[in-house]
Amino acid sequence: MRFFLRRGLFYVITFWAAVTINFFIPRVMPGDPVRALIARNQGRIPSEAEASLRILFGLDKDATLWQQYLDYWALLFRGDLGISFTYFPTPVSDVIAQALPWTIGLVGIATILSFTIGTLLGTGIGWRRGTWADSLLPISTFFSAVPYFWLALIAISIFSVTLGWFPASGSYDRSLIPMWSWEFVGSVIYYGTLPALTVVISSISGWILGMRNMMVTVSSEDYVTVAQAKGLSERRVMLGYAARNAILPQVSSFALSLGFIVGGTLVMEIVFSYQGIGYLLFTAVAAKDYPLMQGIFLVITVAVLIANIVADIAYGILDPRTRQEG
């Protein structure tokens, strides 16, 4: 229980830190771009929304910083992230709520696929080290070195422009109406295949490499030798003894590298014009839509934190030592 309490406390602190960073960024930046935007939209912004924007970007100079901070938190607890300038006058929370399922679906499925396949491959390669399988390593080094979005560019140029197998952009056939029908779901899967494939290919090498190195390290442990000496089947030794222990650092590195993967996939969405959070962030940056940018950062951070909590629970289940008292 102590492990989970500790981690829980840590996530509370991280969430607080992310919100605080978000609070201070617009306040320490030189210039006052939001005030100019409000002035330009004078009379069109509802007074309540304007009040939220003032709190979000610290335009109330007469209030103390502490008062601003308290107001900011009060606003967040009401789920009010201000209004978007690009999608005027839609609230930021609504804009994000529309894009979020797409990103979670795409990035979530692709990341889990990549982790599972990569770990399995790494187990195999690590177990049979010194065979042809080791020649996969330089290839995976190459893939871990290229940025996601470049791979996306290459994938589009090969599979969409040259071969014409997959659509180059978008997330579903625009002639269809979004609803739960086979046709629509099929279209979503068809449009999502190439982006998902790109995410898998570019992130899988890290998992393969990590698992392979852990397998190499673990397979020389005494308990593996003993298991082998007992005459257990090779499969059993590999999966039940070596991989079972090698996967622990893999899970904790999954939690840590999640932020990095999410960052990479966000940019990849831009290349595919996939209507997720990343594409939204791109349009927000291009249009200098500050409320939207800040809201997106907060939502991404919360999503990554939740994924981390899930990874922590998985780790706690996999490693009984963490559940020990003391």
Binding site: I13, T14, F142, F149, L153, L258
Partner: protein, 349 residues
């Protein structure tokens, strides 16, 4: 499982390098106290350089460093100059073809190397400095200070860095290369600090540190003379990793269009290619070379880090060697063949 005597012999032979201390792992910069156990001959210098991966990485990195220095002088054209040769595929005149405005892609990449390298190294140096200061302090002082600093590092690890960099850089009125480097360093120091803290924590309890403390050496001297030399390899690999991260971040930022688009780097080339529909026009030469350069640079940094890793962790090193010699003898490598004495591992823990 066939265990024959030759493997036992081999394990003896391979165990020797594993006993080398971690001091001065990089380019034998330490006191030269290792490698002495090798039978006969003079002690090998630059043991690090024997690692083929590390050498390959260093050669590629040196190549890019050279281009970064002399790039603007050897570029055949002005990267921004327009010409009548619009969207030409690669030829002898334009090695990497031309853009929609007739700009020479090869010149853009050669000139842009400097921006990438400068930002990468400035960010790497800054982030490593922050990481060393915070990580070593946390590991050495322990207690509440340690708790606070490691929570801080973990918070920065968990918060997604790229979106953070994007919203900071996106709100700055003007973004030059050095500004980007500073932003990247502020967000990217945590990994190095975490690793350094863990290692310092274990070094703090070692006999030689205890001895120095018993001798009444000042804290400052213990840290600089006893602890830091033993962290050289980790600091170096952290630096290399941060440079790779910074290069990727810079290129991603430029690709999104944040930062000074007038300043050439590989990311701005890709930004132009994407914005001018190079994909739909089938102009592969516009975006392939820049990506390959990023991959090459990233790979060279990864290879250097592999070299450092294998230098520090004898298990990773000897498996490769061992597997090769086993295959020569027709033995299928399996578990339990990693010829490393177990003392070496306990020593590290």
């Amino acid at each position: 499982m066939t265990i024959d005597t030759s493997i036992v012999e081999e394990s003896e032979e391979l165990a020797k390098p594993s006993q080398t201390p971690m001091t001065g792992a990089v380019a034998a910069s330490g006191r030269g106290g290792f490698g002495r156990r090798r039978a006969g001959g003079k002690p090998p210098k630059f043991l690090f350089m024997r690692n083929s991966k590390a050498v390959a990485g260093l050669v590629i990195l040196a190549f890019f460093l050279l281009i970064a220095i002399i790039g603007p002088w050897i570029a055949p054209y002005d990267p921004s100059a327009r010409s009548a040769d619009v969207l030409q595929p690669p030829s002898w005149q334009h090695l990497f073809g031309t853009t929609h405005l007739g700009q020479d892609v090869f010149s853009q990449i050669v000139v842009g190397t400097r921006g990438v390298i400068v930002v990468g190294f400035v960010a790497g140096l800054l982030a490593t400095a922050i990481g060393v200061i915070l990580g070593v302090t946390a590991g050495y002082i322990g207690g509440l200070g340690d708790e606070t600093l490691s929570v801080l590092a973990n918070v920065f690890l968990v918060i997604p860095q790229l979106p953070l960099i994007i919203i900071i850089a996106g709100q700055l009125p003007s973004v030059g290369g050095v500004t980007v480097a500073v932003v990247i360093a502020i967000t990217g120091w945590a990994w190095g600090a975490r690793v350094l803290r863990a290692q310092t924590l274990s070094l703090r309890k070692r006999d030689f540190v205890e001895a120095a403390r018993a001798n009444g050496e000042s804290t400052w001297r213990i840290i600089t003379a006893e602890i830091l030399p033993n962290l050289t390899a980790i600091i170096a690999s952290g630096f290399v990793g941060t440079v790779a991260f910074a290069v990727l971040s810079l290129i991603t930022l430029s690709f999104i269009g944040i930062g000074n688009t007038g300043e050439w780097n590989w990311g701005t080339v890709l930004y132009q290619a994407q914005a001018q529909l190079a994909l739909q026009r089938g102009a592969w030469w516009w975006f392939v070379p820049a990506g390959l350069c990023i991959a090459l640079l990233g790979m060279s940094l990864t290879l250097i880090n592999f070299g450092i890793d294998e230098f520090v962790n004898p298990r990773l090193r000897s498996t490769g060697l061992n597997a090769r010699s086993l295959r020569k003898r027709g033995i299928r490598p399996r578990i339990g063949f990693t010829p490393v004495v177990h003392e070496a591992k306990e020593d590290r823990a």
